[in-house]
Symmetry: C2
């Protein structure tokens, strides 16, 4: 059993990147069973169950993750999650861990990984729309894979931007607070991390050579990008079936600005260890809604680390 | 955290019957969100995830249950399960418990409950096909609701029947080992509990007034009853959508011996507290594949009992 402080102690963004890279390889080989996401609408909040069986590592993970926004009033985190790791040769539960940090890290790592394979290698300037937890996670991950020096941030709340600037400058990047979303789009790498239901980023704000990471839209009705962006971008994603149902890409397909046949999965590049950008000028775009296999791989890494450090508490369900 | 011995200490068939009756009421009112079952085929075994949100009690349960038949060689139980109970107002996990006994008890209780509402009230003689764990559970549950004196058992293995007889006679019933399946069908209540893929029970073996509990068939390809039985029986089930996809009823619909519109849910009787048999002579049939809400209600009862007895171990995921 691993509590949040155990996970906090064990987890680094480097681990998350390594795990997500492994996850994408397993997904690329289709050496997995990844059932549909179960979503329970509990009126004032939502609970999602993501599960996955990795044939490569003989492990199954089940993550239940909830978002209850009124929890703040009760002194509880809004986002709560637990991950159970099971042995796929016996069905035995091996480890249960707090999962509230796992989703953030592995989602950040997916964005970072897309930059490794698609952004210009001399990218220095990142623009981020939204200044919440994912804004931080994405930046941490991108900083691991590229030599980022400067960040432009834009969000609805000035306070949240000031807090972001304060926290992120400690990490060694210069943060500029933008007055308009447009300003934050004039960058090498553009990351969108909001729960917006209306497009924020206009197509003509994005200059040639930009790599876009679309993180916020993960459900029907959510949208951060002008669908016309897809007309001039090469589109990648984590899972075609998921992003066409739930992601930003869904909006482009509905608007008729993208043919599904032109959409590629990042895992193909990862599996072949192939840098995917073909010219300095092209715009690339990565849309992610997150996959169970990312949880499986990251939870496995944490479980192995905890075992070798003898961290956590024992509990035997069969006793 | 509740281990298997805690659950064993807390759990009675009376509790299971009470919980399943409550579960059917909640289901009858549709005061729940019960997502589709997630099934992961792990080659040498299978893992199922059943989840449910009860609006009536503001609780969510997630049960992962696995069947790995080679576990015996490793000294592990074939059936393993854990249930997590969460607060549907915050998403916080409240309790994790071993779930290996829960499925058996709540499945037995569903059969028992169907006898309370559909079997003749003076039923004394139960016939059981199959002599495994569910045969015991069904008998225990039926004995709670009716004054059962005698049991006829038939199974493929004589050893399993001898063991069943030995164990069940301690509970105060006379057990007769049958030489043929037909013999075991000449009873007041007939229960089928095998994983058979071919019909065992012939339609003309079943006499007027019998109540049938069909438990074994819970997946495509499984079958215990001659579909012609449906021509002369009034058919009930736990969930129309589930049994027509996975249960014994599926076979009858495919064979054209039942119209879905003639199929009733037991929860309607439970909700109205209405005895469902209309004549002594009619044959009634209850098909069950099990529902998440049964796990929610039984896990809730166990959690409350454990709290009041201060049983189990504390573990704080957020610490």
């Amino acid at each position: 059993m691993l509590g949040k402080s155990d996970v906090e102690h064990l987890l680094t963004m480097k681990d998350a990147l390594e795990s997500v890279e492994e996850a994408y390889k397993i997904y690329g080989k289709r050496a997995l069973v990844q059932p549909p996401i179960v979503s329970i609408d509990a009126e004032i909040g939502e609970l999602d169950i993501k599960s996955c069986y990795s044939k490569e590592t003989d492990l199954i993970s089940i993550k239940s993750a909830s978002g209850f926004w009124r929890n703040k009033d009760l002194g509880l985190p809004s986002l709560l999650a637990t991950v159970t790791l099971l042995d796929s040769k016996t069905g035995s539960p091996l480890c249960m861990m707090d999962g509230s940090l796992i989703t953030g890290y592995r989602t950040g790592a997916a964005g970072g990984l897309s930059c490794k394979y698609l952004a210009r290698k001399d990218s220095k300037l990142v623009g981020i729309i939204g200044a919440g937890n994912q804004a931080r996670m994405q930046l941490m991950a991108i900083k691991e894979v590229l030599d980022i020096e400067q960040v432009k941030i834009w969000a609805l709340s000035l306070d949240s931007m000031i807090l972001f600037k304060k926290e992120m400058e400690i990490l060694g990047v210069e943060v500029t607070i933008c007055e308009t979303a447009k300003e934050a789009c004039d960058v090498d790498i553009l990351v969108t991390t909001t729960p917006s239901k209306e497009p924020i980023v206009k197509s003509d704000w994005v200059k040639p050579g930009t790599h876009i990471v679309a993180v916020g839209a993960d459900a029907e009705g959510k949208q951060e990008l002008d669908p016309d962006l897809y007309l001039k971008a090469r589109a990648f994603c984590d899972s075609i079936s998921q992003v066409t149902a739930l992601g930003e890409t869904r909006n482009a397909i509905e608007a008729g600005t993208l043919n599904v046949s032109d959409l590629k999965e990042l895992s193909d590049l990862v599996l072949e260890d192939k840098y995917g950008r073909t010219t300095r000028e092209e715009i690339t775009l990565f849309d992610t809604t997150g996959m169970g296999i990312q949880d499986t791989c990251l939870a496995t890494l944490l479980y192995n680390k905890a075992k070798s450090l003898k961290l956590g508490k024992d509990f035997d369900f069969l006793s």
